[in-house]
Subunit: 341 residues, 2 copies
Amino acid sequence: MSDITRIALDAMGGDNAPGEIVKGAVEAVQKRNDIKILLTGKEEVLKKELSGYTYPAEQIEIVNASEVIETAEPPVKAIRGKKDSSIVVAMKMVKKGEADAFVSAGSTGAVLVGGQVLVGRIKGVERPPLAPLFPTVKGASLLIDCGANVDARPSHLVQFAKMGSIYMESVMGVKNPTVGIVNIGAEEEKGNALVKETFPLLKACDDINFIGSVEARDIPYGAADVIVCEAFVGNVILKLYEGVGGALISKIKGGMMSSLRSKIGALLVKPALKETLKDFDLSEHGGAPLLGLNGLVVKTHGSSTSREICNSIIQCVTFREQKINEKIKAAIQQETQENLE
Amino acid sequence: MSDITRIALDAMGGDNAPGEIVKGAVEAVQKRNDIKILLTGKEEVLKKELSGYTYPAEQIEIVNASEVIETAEPPVKAIRGKKDSSIVVAMKMVKKGEADAFVSAGSTGAVLVGGQVLVGRIKGVERPPLAPLFPTVKGASLLIDCGANVDARPSHLVQFAKMGSIYMESVMGVKNPTVGIVNIGAEEEKGNALVKETFPLLKACDDINFIGSVEARDIPYGAADVIVCEAFVGNVILKLYEGVGGALISKIKGGMMSSLRSKIGALLVKPALKETLKDFDLSEHGGAPLLGLNGLVVKTHGSSTSREICNSIIQCVTFREQKINEKIKAAIQQETQENLE
């Protein structure tokens, strides 16, 4: 294996493309010399964007792609129809082994469909989950699954638990990460049909550190390192996290501006508060990997700025160095073997 | 109909029972002379608690109940086995028409089971939902259902939408309240099987103001007056609301105490901030009604203080005056008729 991690980057995806995406790529190569970025998108546009920066030229290569997939397009149709789009061109490079990873701030649907159709699943993985890190009082937890597969089955959730544990241990360096399943009560007999069926299966896994049910109330306090749930619930958790945080902060800011006394106070607390709130900012945690594929696919926020793009690129290096996909392959293989015995 | 609303109050339920419950009852009768409270619980204990207060004696009556249902007890067994518990005794009074409403901070499970088994459903109501109000940037929305029935069917969600609309219009005074269904995207084709099946049914209802899908991110900003979802998702939303709010506020407090400068600032912003955060406090919005029963059943937080108990009691008066149950009966009857035609 070469010492360089090659990242195909969708330069046309996201609200701030191509400006912030290209800027993020430049920031990443200025920080690390062990990466090479393959920028996919309209060549003439990207050339112009890049011309404003100074950077090691051999670390960024433009790969022309004439089409762009818009967020509102039906994903399956877009992936099939736009063969020369920045997403499809980049994913094919991952498939062919010309790139180790793919990062995109573009259409979530298209990234999820493309990941499965173009990059392909690791043999034995039933469904590849989208697994973002999110901030907690203790640090960060992994939410898995959060958008790829609604109406999941218990066996899917068991694989999510295993893949999530590997990610937290190898990429985030959490030793023997705890795994909890999202539930509406702490007791084993609580829950909907899916959770009740999944609970004993997770309990029986000896390759994960399952600690039982986790109530939504305790998630922000870091109740478990890996939070397992099906995608509909995961999506609600992630988006509500963002919504409550944003609404509360806007309320607080409004409250601070309500009198002269509080305005003066606000000036004094501002620097400390800014630092605190940074810890609770979802975008500080980089992109969400789509786990279980034959290559790394990372989805970042649609509103990503250069900072998040740069973080997501650097995250890919650890993912590759730690051989996450090989570890997932081994875990799934072991599972298949156990099921046969 | 008499002008007095009679409320059976579970004096033994909740973390702060009986002290805060009795105190809440006293506060309520000190505020309003059109209510009568029937305190259920151990007579000698309640007599002692009441002896410390001055209040109009004819407005509070103790109804002896020798048993207490604990939160950890399996609900069905508890309701069946503890016939002389404060919950069962109170609910039977509602059933017999001796009380108009029941308020409890005790076991949610027991209140939900007791409501269905002892008080009984309005004819045609398939499942009674638990429907708390929660704070938004604009004011408050109703979350329905949030704990009573997991694995719901589309027809249940349609009834939730109707009952929730009646509640928001009649009790909260919101004209033609908007109704949204919790979904993972704004488009009609998004969602899990339940949401996809429910969406066209809600769209076809001409007695509600359905505005389509609501993403979790927009809920705290007051995306709809009535937020419809099945109970598992509703429970996650309510508890995560509480969790993220609490965690963020504790982070902010920590941040404010991190330097001398920020400590001085904190002193100055404190009064304004306190007022702001009160608006975002779930307990300020009183208890959650269990809608669709032959009588009013209200569940308040397990951690309720006298203030929340008092608010919940007064809420019962509006509920009765506005004849919510008669309105629900009429709406469900119309639905049954339409289905027959």
